[in-house]
């Protein structure tokens, strides 16, 4: 028996990526999925003509990491960063990219990579943090000669293990499990107790050791080593898990009845995967992205019924995917077919890829 083995999933603005253990990448949806999107015959049309079937991102080699951003996706192949998708600005104003991955020659090595909205970051082999893209509100965390900057490292910060990107802001997790934040702070998403933009990384006051971060559009989740979750930033749909204010500018704990293993955040909504394999959702639900069968905002984490044995979750802008034992599930917006064959507004988890299916031989 030949099974599809998926090692990682990533959800961006309009695309979903699945990384196979073979190193190949499958893509669904719009720009950044690896699919050539037809142009502008219809006025800035939704991708009505697009195909619910996945495509393979064409591979110069095989990938170890993926990150789906806004129209652009990034991958690491043989320790080298690659980009594909649709970018109006290119990388640093040069190298306009296409759905065929191209290497980012300016960076020698990469171990972690993150794609945002015209904003990108990666961690190199020795924990150096490199950023590039449009420097709005100090989002690149460093001085740049160009507004649309090419990759370069941020100096004067401790070695980092991972980087996370929201709307014109970034967070990084240091090797010693501390959180650093910089860039736009419109809803207090830097967690620094104010609303001012910061153009150099600053330490966020958060005493427990942090294992993972998840960044939505303007809110942040942090997962501790003990399986606890903190939230801060925009909270007008209670996406940061608090019910008292419309934004929170310092980390605040979110209550769960069990230990959490993984977190993910999209536009004004949040997901948490418990060690038990259950998935919790809360925040904005306009596209059904909470997977709870309706459009009601949830102010507290609610377990998604009939979804168990989940191994990984990924929240895109308005769609979510989860890796189960035998299926890839998707819910939320399907405007670009980013969750395969599903409703336009898929309100509950829908299995869109059977990973048990026996792989066919060559066509």
């Amino acid at each position: 028996m030949d099974f599809l083995e998926i090692s990682a999933i990533s959800a961006g603005k309009d695309q979903t990526l699945a990384l196979l253990t073979s190193g190949e990448v499958l893509g669904w949806g719009g720009a950044g999925s690896g699919r050539l999107v037809p142009p502008f015959k219809d006025i800035c049309g939704a991708f009505k003509e697009s195909d619910p079937r996945p495509v393979y991102v064409s591979a110069p080699s095989l990938y170890s990491h993926i990150s789906a951003g806004y129209g652009v996706s990034l991958g690491i192949s043989d320790q080298k960063p690659f980009a594909w998708g649709f970018s109006q600005t290119g990388m640093g104003g040069h190298e306009p990219i296409s759905e065929a991955p191209s290497a980012l020659a300016q960076v020698a090595s990469a171990s972690k990579i993150a794609a945002g909205q015209c904003l990108f970051g990666l961690i190199d082999e020795v924990g150096g943090l490199h950023t590039w893209g449009l420097n709005v509100d100090g989002a690149l965390g460093r001085k740049t000669g160009q507004i649309n900057a090419s990759p370069a490292p941020i100096s004067g910060i401790p070695p980092m293990q991972d980087v996370f990107i929201g709307d014109c802001f970034m967070l990084a997790l240091s090797d010693d499990q501390k959180v650093y934040a910089w860039g736009s702070n419109s809803s207090g998403q830097l967690g620094l107790g104010h609303l001012k933009s910061i153009s150099n990384p600053e330490l966020v006051e958060l005493s427990p050791n942090i294992k993972r971060l998840a960044v939505g559009s303007t809110h942040v989740l942090a997962l501790t080593e003990d399986g606890e979750v903190y939230g801060w930033g925009s909270n007008h749909f209670n996406q940061s898990g608090d019910t008292t204010s419309s934004f929170i500018n310092r980390p605040r704990k979110i209550g769960f009845s069990e230990a959490i293993a993984e977190i993910s955040a999209g536009m004004h909504y949040s997901l948490a995967l418990a060690s038990s394999g259950k998935v919790y959702a809360w925040g904005w639900n306009g596209m059904g992205q909470l997977g709870l069968g309706d459009h009601q905002t949830r102010s507290r984490p609610v377990a998604i019924p009939d979804l168990s044995g989940i191994r990984a979750i990924a929240a895109g802008e308005m769609h979510a995917v989860a890796l189960g034992k035998s299926h890839l599930f998707g819910w939320g917006s399907n405007a670009s077919n980013q969750i395969g064959k599903a409703d336009l507004c898929q309100m509950s988890p829908n299995p869109f890829l059977d990973i048990r299916s026996r792989a066919r031989s060559r066509l």
Binding site: L4, G34, V136, N148, C168, S187, H268, C345
Partner: protein, 634 residues
């Protein structure tokens, strides 16, 4: 004013208008003005040749009109006001009236319903040749856009017959098709809709430039408390539709393969050499299309010394800017676009002082109060103005737009300019950091880019900057489509898995690198901005090219806070000019905040240089109701 109407007809129309304007107002100063104009017949006062469209006013909260699109055969001036050329251009008629050089002026108030039934009487679309940039364009398919109005953008589903809001996201197979198709538009203005000038024009994707660059435009005036101020009500109101219809000169028509006096090819609006243009006076100047005001080249306006008038400026041009300046007078601006301000921004005569007048890019409007000074003749001009900067500095030459003759009248009691603060709608309250923080606070980035143009265009070359840009752009539309078709076909034949493992129903698409040549303008379907209703957000628009590009967004106005990342004194507008001189490495930018309160539904943002928009510099905004779903209906 249509073909053959002489000064007599113009004057009569103007007088009629004067009467209409004062109906319902307390003091009929305008009526006195008519008396004064009659004296012109006795030879001591020059004749006013300024004409303006008929005003249709709402009654009991409703204005309901029929609007028709058809060809108008008339005569228009080019650069030389004394010469007239036969033209055959697309234009609007209303109710039982045939087409005119302008649509009627629609006058409404906050809380009113404006109903426009648009009927398309244009002929069938011409067949598209394979290499024709019009391949995907349908020059005779149309629709209607109410530029700047804060109204519902979707399709209403609460009526038996389909009714449309400010709906412009028609598919290429949709729109209001030629030969008799019609569409009922319904615009419900919120009670607190700000008072100011707006306008309507077609926005059918692919054809908007061609149609708006003919004669398809008309003014919308939203009235409010500011208009009820006694001094304001007493000040006679003139509507200036600045139009620059493109039509081929006899000597140039063969270049485009069209008849003289017509506008049928996309290349024509991409090229200023129609043969009627304002000639450049230096190598860094662009030939400009001559500007008409309400169809008339350089009309004469007559005022009495001490008289106060309010002028509504509407730049309906699809590319060029205006840098308005009135000799020896101050323009007191009280709306920027259609958005009122509590105080006046003053624009004194700038000829001796930097030459920076009241700049209106394509799509911009302004309301000003002016008080006529000493008797004499003064010119309303557009001073030379930058239209591209940086690697290509390009100026539009100056031009005379109208003549103001101020006459002495000892019987006339001087009017006064209304005192400030002027009443402003609470709709225009500033957007604070706290409001942004508590309403999602999203920061979005929108990029306008013609990739490659700044490297490849050189003013010293034989072709002009614009010619080259358009040569590139002109071939783009068809090339892109052919390119994509070719690639898709190729993809179908190249389903060659490199993996042993194939996924059920998975296809292998081998995407090709996008070539610079084929993708010089961005794809319009790149990224749709989905915004939950009731959000407040801050967007930054980047301009990667030399051109001072006017960025326009429908439905919700912008509260501009930064230019090139630096804070400015904030203001409201719906069309904002991005600084020129941008490059992909160092793009210029404008940052603004928006509230997405009143409406959900799909609409667009685009370059108001409509040639760009038709070629793809346009993208969709979709406001999602918080209660769920992708609703276009209200």
């Amino acid at each position: 004013m249509t073909d053959g109407s002489g000064p007599e007809d113009s004057r009569r129309q103007f007088l009629g208008l004067g009467l209409r304007v004062v109906s319902g107002l307390a003091v009929s100063v305008a009526f006195n003005a008519c008396d004064r104009n009659d004296e012109a017949d006795h030879g001591d006062i020059p004749t006013q040749t300024f004409v303006q469209p008929t005003m249709l006013e709402s009654k009991d909260g409703l204005l309901d009109i029929d609007l028709t699109a058809s060809y108008l055969d008339t005569k228009l001036s080019g650069f030389d006001p004394s010469k007239k050329h036969a033209v055959s251009l697309r234009a609007y008629g209303y109710n039982t009236k045939g087409p005119e050089v302008f649509g009627p002026t629609l006058v409404v108030k906050g809380g009113d319903q404006l109903r426009i039934k648009l009927t398309n009487n244009l002929p069938f679309n011409p067949p598209a040749a394979p290499n024709d940039p019009l391949l995907y364009m349908k020059p005779n398919t149309t629709n209607l856009h109410t530029h700047g109005l804060h109204v519902f953008p979707g399709i209403y589903n609460n009526s038996k017959s389909r009714e449309y809001g400010d709906y412009v996201v028609d598919s290429n197979s949709g729109g209001v098709v030629p030969r008799g198709d019609s569409r009922q538009y319904v615009y419900n203005l919120p009670a607190n809709h700000p008072a100011g000038p707006f306008y309507y024009h077609p926005q059918f994707h692919g054809s908007s430039a061609l149609q708006a660059a003919s004669l398809m435009q008309g003014a919308i005036l939203v009235r409010g408390p500011v208009d009820d101020l006694p001094e304001m009500a007493r000040a006679r109101e003139l509507i200036f539709l600045f139009q620059a219809p493109y039509f081929a000169h006899d000597g140039f028509s063969s270049v485009y393969g069209v008849n003289a006096g017509s506008l049928e090819q996309f290349d024509q609006i991409g090229n200023h050499s129609t043969g009627h243009g304002v000639k450049n006076n230096g190598k860094d100047y662009l030939d400009a299309q001559p500007v008409l005001i309400n169809g008339v080249r350089q009309p004469t306006i007559v005022m009495r010394s001490g008289e106060v008038q309010r002028w509504r400026f509407i730049n309906t041009q699809i590319f060029n800017r205006l840098n308005l300046n009135l000799d020896s007078h101050i323009l007191h601006q009280f709306t920027q676009d259609g958005w009122g301000t509590a105080t006046y921004q003053e624009f004194p005569d700038a000829r001796q002082n930097g030459g920076e007048g009241l700049v209106l890019s394509a799509g911009n409007r302004s309301s000003v109060i002016i008080k006529a000074g000493k008797p004499g003749t003064y010119l309303l001009r557009t001073l030379p103005v930058k239209i591209a900067d940086g690697l290509e500095k390009v100026l539009l030459p100056g031009d005379v737009l109208a003549k103001l003759v101020v006459v002495d009248d000892r019987k006339f009691i001087a009017q006064t300019i209304p005192d400030t603060p002027l009443p402003v709608s609470d709709f225009l309250k500033p957007i604070s950091d706290q409001e942004l923080a508590g309403s999602g606070g999203r920061k979005r980035i929108i990029v306008l880019n013609i990739t490659g143009n700044t490297e490849s265009i050189n003013l010293q070359d034989s072709q002009s900057y614009w010619e080259k840009l358009v040569a590139t752009a002109g071939s783009l539309a068809s090339d892109t489509e052919r390119f994509v078709r070719r690639k898709l076909t190729q993809a179908d034949h190249e389903i060659t898995p490199t993996s042993e493992k194939n996924v059920t129903n998975a296809t292998y698409v081998k995407p090709a690198a996008l070539s610079n040549d084929n993708y010089n303008l961005q794809l319009s379907n790149s990224i749709i901005q989905y915004v939950p209703q009731n959000s407040v957000e801050e967007w930054t628009i980047f301009n990667c090219n030399s051109i001072c590009r006017p960025f326009h967004i429908h439905v919700n106005p912008m509260y501009v806070t930064k230019v090139n990342g630096t804070s400015i004194s904030p203001y409201w507008c719906d069309t904002v000019t991005l600084p020129g001189g941008g490059t992909p490495e160092m793009p210029t930018s404008v940052t603004f905040r928006m509230r997405f309160d009143d409406f959900s539904g799909p609409y667009i943002m685009h370059s108001q240089m409509l040639q760009d928009s038709d070629l793809g510099m346009v993208s969709r905004v979709s406001i999602l109701p918080t209660q769920g779903g992708f609703k276009t209906a209200g």
